[in-house]
């Protein structure tokens, strides 16, 4: 960044103001606070919003409002939109390669590999939106004259603590499965490397993704996560970005309204993910429909 500005010294540098993403809008933190973000060598990169618990509250309200329409959209439509995110990301690949390289201290080639994998991850989950129901749902054989069907439904508003180390590939790997199945998300970015996440919000805003489906907050993970874990209108929490001690505290707070909790676990983000993150935030609805007396063939359907 610095050597570029020197080359074009005749022109004043235009710095980007990184902002939060709540309900499809880009507000500053309600608290007015910011903190400094540096690259891996300690050079200043940008000031980003230091979110407060009120920002978290506003984000939950936005996510709840978006849940109805997003979970009600057809799986096919959600798949199209997730694919659109991949398309938009492809066009801004260079920006993300630079940001990931700065944030994680990677070479350009390694950063590019991360970004490419992240774009492919959106495509992968886009394909899953209309297939997960067949894999985890279906007709159940029961001992009685009933037609018995199970279908997966989204859990609701999911608080996601994004991984601290993998600032972009890890981030995409935790957001995409949550929204693919129709949940809405309140995402807390990596504390040290929030820039790729805040830039991702600009991509999401231009990808037909309805406002409020993903809300992105930067700041101190422990400070924002605590009110989210205790929030009565949050249905699940993904603790990936929490250390062991914080995860314990948050899980206790989350027990109060029986939130679904996904505990932190070691993940290789380059490997093809399974369906575990998709199914972590699904509820199963089972319907028993009487079929009347069974015929001589043993089945009436």
């Amino acid at each position: 960044m610095s050597d570029k500005t020197e080359k074009t010294a005749s022109r004043l540098p235009v710095f980007k103001t990184y902002k939060l993403y709540i309900g499809g809008k880009f507000p500053r933190s309600e608290s007015g606070r910011v903190y400094e973000v540096t690259d891996s060598k300690g050079n200043w990169l940008a000031n980003v919003p230091l979110s407060s618990r009120k920002d978290a509250r506003d984000a939950v309200v936005a996510a709840r409002k978006a849940f109805g329409p997003w979970s009600g959209a057809t799986a096919y439509n959600r798949g199209q939109i997730l694919y659109r995110v991949a398309e938009m990301l492809e066009g801004r690949r260079e920006q993300f390669v630079r940001e990931v390289a700065d944030a994680e201290g990677l070479s350009r080639a390694k950063a590019a590999a991360q970004v490419d994998a992240a774009i492919d991850r959106w495509v992968w989950y886009a394909g899953w939106t209309d297939k997960i129901a067949q894999v985890v749902g279906g007709g159940n054989p029961v001992a009685g004259p009933f037609f018995n069907l199970s279908t997966p439904e989204p859990t609701g508003v999911v608080a996601v603590l994004a991984p601290q180390e993998s600032s972009f590939l890890g981030l995409v790997s935790v957001i995409a499965p949550v929204i693919a199945t129709g949940n809405t998300a309140v995402v807390v970015t990596s504390e040290k490397a929030p820039l790729p996440a805040l830039s991702l919000s600009e991509v999401l805003a231009t990808s037909d993704l309805p406002g409020g489906v993903v809300n992105i907050l930067s700041g101190r993970t422990a400070e924002i996560a605590a009110p989210l874990a205790a929030h009565q209108d949050v249905n699940a929490i993904d603790l990936t970005g929490a250390d062991e001690e914080l995860a314990r505290e948050l899980e206790i707070a989350a027990a109060d309204n029986l939130k679904r909790v996904l505990r932190p676990q070691p993940v290789d983000y380059f490997a093809t993910p399974g369906t575990e993150r998709l199914t972590a935030f699904l509820e199963t609805k089972t319907v028993w429909h009487p079929t009347g007396a069974l015929g001589a063939s043993g089945s009436s359907y």
């Binding site: 509250r57 939950v60 709840r64 009110p227 205790a230 929030h231 009565q232 209108d233």
Partner: protein
Amino acid sequence: MPTTAPAALADVTASNSTLRRFLHGLPGVDAVGLEARAASLGTRSIKTTAKAYALDLAISMVDLTTLEGADTPGKVRALGAKAVRPDPTDRTTPAVAAVCVYPDMVAAAKQAVAGSDVKVASVATAFPAGRAPLSVKLADVREAVAAGADEIDMVIDRGAFLAGDYLKVYEEIAAVKEACGTKARLKVIFETGELSTYDNIRRASWLAMLAGADFIKTSTGKVAVNATPANTLLMLEAVRDFRAQTGVQVGVKPAGGIRTAKDAIKYLVLVNETVGEDWLDNRWFRFGASSLLNDLLMQRQKLATGRYSGPDYVTVD
């Protein structure tokens, strides 16, 4: 001619021209100053114990309202139960001030709140348009009072008011006041969104108070512009000046568009700073609202437990 105007201002209502001279002689409203004052009072920060007090006070001031064509006796009963005990999980939550329904639902509402201090308010006089002959409006009021309404919310004849026929409006309010008798308190709705100017709101406030209103109320909640901090501040100034001149205290009720606890607290600040503690009581200040109560309850739960609450923990109305 009814002579409900206080003695000090008795000659004002002698004829249409004296009334007109008086109302147009009221000082003009500084619109920019009014809005700036209302906005600046809205920036006060109310926290912790003051917030707890304000939330409970606001809950006790709510006129829980259902004014839909689809109202059923069942819905009114549910509303009544909620009015008496807004948060069944927390018995320290105060009851609301009143339930507000259409006249034909008064009996059902009365039954639903029986045995509590919750009042039953009924809109009347061909609410919300007010376009009906006086005899019909008075019959509407009498029926509601006979069914047991403790409060009557009437709408003024905006057509006559805007045409400058102030005496007609005055006499209509006075006639309705008479029909209310001694049992029911009268709230007069101006529909401020249809009065066009702040000057008109000030004139309407004085006109209604001269005619014997117990309460002046901003709006029906059925038009685009309802209660705003500015028009409520203006009406509060009117009741303050009216008491200074005549010694008669009149209540104020903003209605429509107040949906969050934050907004409600801003209104309470307006009351405290304009007319003072005498009005910080549900006998003198009310909120006409339906969805406001749920937000007040959620904020109250947040304050009590330290956790943000959600719509799953209040009723769906």
